[in-house]
């Protein structure tokens, strides 16, 4: 991918957007298509998981709300979503500052950084696409491997805890972790993103 969506996908996406504009219940297809992309972008800039979830949630609600206003003028839907996300991150930073009035102004720079960052460079877009694809591939892992990845990396459980929960030995969990990461690596390298 070269930082944008290939043309064929553009047309499919355009049809999906038009369908959702006519019938909001069809927004689901756009959510499925873009969740990982938006989350990958937000998570790389949010200070913690709770904030990343708050902001991602706000982005999709805003996108749903403003969907009737979206017009296809060569701006891919993904870019529109990421622009909403960049603004949501700025809003979040402002809200945090209001909630901590005792804080000094040192975060001003961050907010500005994000504002400037809304003019995203190709390199950053590629990194987001890469990470989003990895997130999608995790969802396609065989069941025990997928569970180990989520418990280890998301829940941050210890190997011993996961072993207890899955009724396996610690050694077996480490093997599953290895197989999962190896499989993801092969898949990520198989198709250059």
């Amino acid at each position: 991918m070269r930082g944008g969506t290939p043309e064929g996908e553009d047309r499919t996406e355009q049809a999906l957007v038009a369908a959702a504009q006519n019938d909001p219940a069809k927004f689901d297809a756009l959510y499925e298509l873009h969740f990982e992309r938006v989350y990958a972008f937000v998570a790389s800039r949010a200070r913690d998981r709770a904030t990343a979830e708050d902001v991602t949630s706000a982005v999709f609600h805003k996108a749903l709300e403003h969907l009737p206003k979206y017009e296809w003028r060569g701006v891919p839907f993904a870019a529109w979503l990421l622009r909403i996300a960049a603004n949501a991150i700025v809003d979040q930073a402002k809200r945090e500052r209001r909630e901590s009035p005792l804080e000094d102004d040192s975060r001003e720079g961050d907010a500005n950084g994000i504002l400037h960052g809304s003019q995203m460079r190709g390199e950053e877009l590629r990194a987001i696409e890469h990470r989003a694809r990895l997130f999608r591939l995790v969802g396609e892992l065989p069941e025990p491997q997928k569970q180990v990845i989520f418990e280890r990396f998301v829940e941050q459980r210890s190997i011993a805890e996961i072993a207890g929960r899955l009724g396996k030995t610690a050694g077996a969990i480490k093997q599953l972790q290895l197989r999962a990461v190896q499989r993801l690596r092969t898949q990520m390298e198989g198709r250059h993103g």
């Binding site: 790389s44 979830e53 749903l64 972790q177 993801l184 690596r185």
Partner: protein, 331 residues
């Protein structure tokens, strides 16, 4: 030394990465390891499956009925068990007057006051000061909770500057800043309340998430016995424990959730300082039950608090109090 299996090498590196600690260098690293770690680093940001599904359901509901969506979104984001701004382990220091300790934390460590809740008599019932990516919680305490100094390990950008600022803010020196054999540039001070602050600049390259700025440090008698207690109660994991030939813990780093604490065997002038620690866990009731089973005594049974946490308290065999909490929501 025989080459360790790739599964072991990867797991050890993942463990270090999850807590942003330096991985022990492999003597004979597997050639596949760097590429796998690159994937592993990205996986740290993986979204929770429950969040993905929950938001999707929420949006679907909203397309069916436009009202009430806001409330549902709120429920959804409150699933996360840690209070924003706090990590899984936060030192809770009781000092009188706490207001002066807050001033010290601001002057010495660039602390940012996040919260101050006064008691009716004007004393501080509860306060929180952010330092780097961690925090210190504090209170004036009361009869049941008298002053309890603690030891805290801070990772900072410039240990020399921070040490000097701490001295200017009223601290006394325990050890001047110097390069240590384990690689850190390190010094130590005692504040006017008796708290120990170990100030270090890491001598290793931290991961992309940086280092944990704030780590409680427990000096204990028979320190090795604390590890099984923490494993049983909080699902903790020990990340490298250095022991003497006699089995005494020279230094140990223990992980709970996304944070770490350190322990060692008390000796000489460094004696036990029974401390208060605030830990966030996914299930307070379960952790409380496991802690009692592992030998702790109850301070307080689990209950929902008005500030949006479910919380409980236990005391371990060393006299440290563990305030166990699960964040339910901010409102």
């Amino acid at each position: 030394m025989a080459k360790r299996s790739l599964a072991l090498q990867l797991d050890e590196a993942v463990l270090a990465m999850l807590v942003a600690l330096p991985a022990r260098p492999e003597e004979t690293p597997h050639r596949e390891l760097p590429a796998l770690l690159k994937i592993a680093r990205e996986l740290r940001l993986l979204p929770r499956a429950e969040f993905r599904e929950g938001l999707r359901t929420d949006l679907q509901r909203r397309t069916r009925m436009s009202e009430g969506a806001a409330a549902q979104t709120k429920d959804l984001r409150e699933v996360h068990y840690m209070r924003p701004g706090l990590t899984a382990i936060t030192p809770y220091i009781i000092a009188r007057p706490a207001a002066r300790l807050i001033e010290f934390l601001k002057s010495a460590f660039d602390g940012i006051e996040q919260l101050r809740m006064p008691a009716p008599d004007g004393s501080i019932m509860h306060a929180a000061v952010a330092i780097g990516n961690g925090a210190i919680e504090l209170s004036d305490g009361n009869e049941a909770y008298p002053s309890a100094p603690a030891a805290v390990h801070l990772y900072v950008e410039d240990a020399d500057v921070t040490y000097e600022r701490a001295m200017l803010a009223g601290a006394t020196s325990i050890a001047p800043v110097a390069n240590q054999h384990w690689g850190d540039r390190w010094g130590a001070v005692k504040d006017p309340f008796g708290n120990h602050w170990y100030i270090a600049k890491p001598g290793w390259t931290p991961g992309p998430e940086g280092v944990r700025s704030v780590q409680p440090f427990l000096h204990l008698r028979e320190a090795h016995k604390l590890i099984p207690f923490l494993e049983a109660a909080f699902g903790a994991e020990s990340l490298g424990v250095a022991k003497s030939p006699e089995g005494t813990v020279l230094h140990g780093t223990i992980r709970i959730g996304n944070a770490t604490l350190e322990i060692d065997e008390a000796y000489g002038e460094i004696q036990p300082m029974p401390s208060h620690l605030h830990v966030y866990v996914p299930d307070t009731d379960a952790a409380y039950a496991r802690a009692l089973e592992a030998g702790a005594t109850s301070i307080e049974a689990p209950q929902d608090k008005p500030y949006g946490d479910r919380s409980a308290g236990v005391k371990d065999a060393w006299g440290n109090s563990w305030f166990i909490a699960t964040h339910l929501g901010t409102k």
